[in-house]
Amino acid sequence: MGTYILRRVLQMIPLLLVISLMIFLLTALQPGDPVDQLTFGNSNITPEDIARLKHAYGLDQPWYVRYFYWLRQAVTGNFGYSQDFNIPALDFVFQQRMPNTLLLTVPALVISTLIAVPLGIFSAIRQYSWMDYVLTFLSFLAFSAPVFWVAAMAMYFFAVFLPTVTAGAVSLPPGGLGSPDLPLDAGFWQTWLDKLHYLLLPLSILMLREIAVTMRFMRANMLEVMTQDFVRTARAKGLTSRVVLYKHALRNAVAPILTLLGLSIPGLFGGAVITETVFSWPGMGRAIFDALVSKDFNVVMVSLMLLALLTVIFQLLTDVAYAYVDPRIRYH
C-alpha cells in the first residue's frame, strides 16, 4: 500500500504540471493584461510608462518565458500578488476565500451523502413502489434544473414572497456571508447563528444535485448487489430479509459511494462557482469569476491550481479508502 500511495503521489506531479501549463496558456493568451487594466482611461500615463511597467512585470515576454518564471516562483510558494486586493494571491485565496468555500462545500457533501444513501437504499429495496417513483422523479427534476435558476427562484421565494406572506416572520437573506448590522462585539454563538442563517439557502441549493446523483447511484448499486449469488445464498440458508439486506447487501453497495464522492469533489467546487455567484458568497468560486472578469491572473492561476490539487488529492484519498473498505481490492 505504501508504495502504491507513493507512486500515485509521484504521478500527480506530471499531471499537475500539464494542468498548470494548460491553465496558464488559457489565461496568458487572453488579450489585455493587468497593466492595461490598471492604466485604462488614465490620460496622464504615457505609452512609454506603460511599456516600462509591462517590462517591469515581465508582461512583454513571450508566454513560455512567463510560464517558466511563474513555475519557478510557484514551486517556492510565491504565486504573485493579487492586482485587485494588493495582497499575495495565495494568501487571498487560501486564507480569505477558501474557508468560505469549505464552509459551503464540506457540509454540502456530508449532509447530502447522509440524506442520499438511506434514500437510495430505500428506493432500491422498494423498487417500483410509489415512493420509488416519487424519489426517481424528484431526482430527475434536481439534475435537470439549471442550478442558478433554482437558486434565483428560491431566493425570490424565501427573501420576498415568504416575508410578504408571513409579514416578515419567515425569511432568508438573498445573499452575503452575514448580516452587515451584526454588532462587532457579537458573541460566538450569535455570529455563527447569523452565518448559518445566511448559509442555509446556498447550502441547500448546492446539495440538491448532490443528493439526486448520490441517491441514484446508491439505488443502482444496491439493485445490482441484491441480485448477486451471495445474497441468494444468504437468503437460502434462512437468514432474515433484514440481515440479508442490511448486513450482506448493504456493505457491498456502500463501498462504491466512496468513488462517487471522490469524483464529485471537482463538480461540487464547479457548482460552487455558480452558487457563490448567485448568492454573493465570498468564496473561491466567486473569486475565480471576479478575477477572470478583472484579469487578475495571479488569483486565477492560484485558485485553479488549488482546485486541481484538491481534485487529485481527493481522487487518491478515495482510491485508498476504497481499498480499506473493500478487501477484494488490492493495489500493486
Binding site: I23, L26, P146, A152, Y156, A308, T311
Partner: protein, 310 residues
C-alpha cells in the same frame, strides 16, 4: 382462356430482431420516455415554426412595456427592454436545441473515436488517450470553460477575429467548448466495451478472414456500441443545454442579439427579486427540455438493457 394468377400472399410482417429494433419496441412500454418523445417532438416543431407561432418579433423593443407583468397581450410578460418574453422563449428553443444536438453529435463522435482507438490499439495509443482523459477530468471544468469562452470573445488573433464577424459565432464557439469538455465520459465507456469485445471469437474470425483493423473497428465493433452511443448521446443533449445556460447566466455564453434561454437568464439573480416572472419562464423552458431528454435517455438505457423490466 383466362388464367387466374394465384393471389399474391400478403407480405408477412417480420419482426426485426436487430438490437435497435428490439430496443425501440421495448421503449414503447416506457411511459415517461414516450411522453418525453412527444415533448421533444413539440419542441422541435416549435423551433422550426418559431416564425409562425411567435406572436411578436423577439427583438422588438417596447419602451412603454418595460417589465410589464404577464397580460392577455403578452402571456409571459415583457422584459427589461419591453420585449415579449413568450416570443423570445419560442425563438430561444432554436438555439438551445441546436446547441444540445450539435454538442451531443460532436462529442459522441469524438468520444467514440477516442474510445475505440484506445481500446482497440492499446499500448501507447491507449496510454496517451487515457492520460489525456485523466487530465481533462481533473481540471476545474466550469472556470476553464469561462476562460476559454472569454478568450474567444475578445482574442485579437486573426483567425478568431474573423470567426467573430459572423453574428452567430458565439453559438459555434459554445458548441466547440462543450464538445471539447464533453467527450471523456463516452470515450471511457467505449474504451471499456471495446476491451471486452475485441477478444471475442467473432472478432478473431473476422481477422482470420483478412479484415483490416479499420474494418474490424467500423463493421464489427462500432455497431455493438450502439446502446452506449444512443443513451449517452441523448443524455448529452440535456447536459449541453444546461451547460450553455450556466455559461450564459455568467455572461460568458452565447451573446445577444441571439436570444437563448440561457442569456435570457443572465443576471436573473438580480432581476428575480423584483420581477420574478422574467426569470421564471426561461428557466422553466430549460427544465422541461432537459427533463424530457433525461427521461428519454433513461428509458433508452432500460430499453437496451435486456436485464431491466419495463
Amino acid at each position: 382462356m383466362t388464367t387466374t394468377l394465384p393471389a399474391k400472399p400478403a407480405p408477412r410482417r417480420v419482426r426485426s430482431n436487430s438490437t435497435l429494433a428490439t430496443a425501440l419496441r421495448r421503449l414503447r412500454k416506457h411511459r415517461a420516455a414516450m411522453l418525453s418523445l412527444v415533448v421533444i417532438a413539440l419542441l422541435i416543431l416549435t423551433a422550426i415554426f418559431a416564425r409562425v407561432i411567435a406572436p411578436y418579433d423577439p427583438n422588438a423593443q417596447d419602451l412603454a412595456g418595460i417589465y410589464v407583468p404577464p397580460s392577455a397581450a403578452h402571456l409571459m410578460g415583457q422584459d427589461s427592454l419591453g420585449r415579449d418574453l413568450l416570443s423570445r422563449i419560442i425563438y430561444g428553443s432554436r438555439i438551445s436545441l441546436l446547441v444540445g444536438f450539435s454538442v451531443s453529435l460532436f462529442s459522441i463522435l469524438l468520444g467514440t473515436t477516442m474510445g475505440v482507438l484506445a481500446g482497440f490499439f492499446g499500448g501507447r495509443t491507449d496510454t496517451l488517450i487515457s492520460r489525456f482523459i485523466e487530465i481533462m477530468l481533473s481540471v476545474p471544468e466550469l472556470p476553464l470553460q469561462l476562460t476559454l469562452s472569454g478568450l474567444f470573445a475578445v482574442s485579437d488573433a486573426p483567425a478568431i477575429a474573423a470567426l467573430r464577424e459572423n453574428p452567430n459565432s458565439s453559438v459555434f464557439i459554445i458548441v466547440g467548448i462543450f464538445t471539447f469538455f464533453g467527450w471523456m465520459g463516452t470515450a471511457r465507456l467505449v474504451r471499456g466495451e471495446v476491451l471486452k469485445l475485441k477478444n471475442l471469437e467473432y472478432v478473431d474470425a473476422a481477422r482470420a478472414l483478412g479484415a483490416s483493423s479499420a474494418r474490424v473497428m467500423a463493421r464489427h465493433l462500432v455497431p455493438n456500441l450502439l446502446a452506449i452511443i444512443i443513451v449517452n448521446g441523448t443524455l448529452a443533449i440535456g447536459g449541453a443545454i444546461l451547460g450553455e445556460a450556466a455559461l450564459s447566466f455568467l455572461g460568458f455564453g452565447i451573446q445577444p442579439p441571439v436570444s437563448t434561454w440561457g442569456n435570457m437568464l443572465s443576471n436573473a439573480n438580480e432581476v428575480v427579486l423584483e420581477h420574478p416572472y422574467v426569470a421564471f419562464w426561461p428557466g422553466f423552458a430549460i427544465l422541461i427540455t432537459v427533463l424530457a431528454f433525461n427521461f428519454l435517455g433513461d428509458g433508452l438505457r432500460d430499453a437496451f438493457d435486456p436485464k431491466s423490466r419495463l
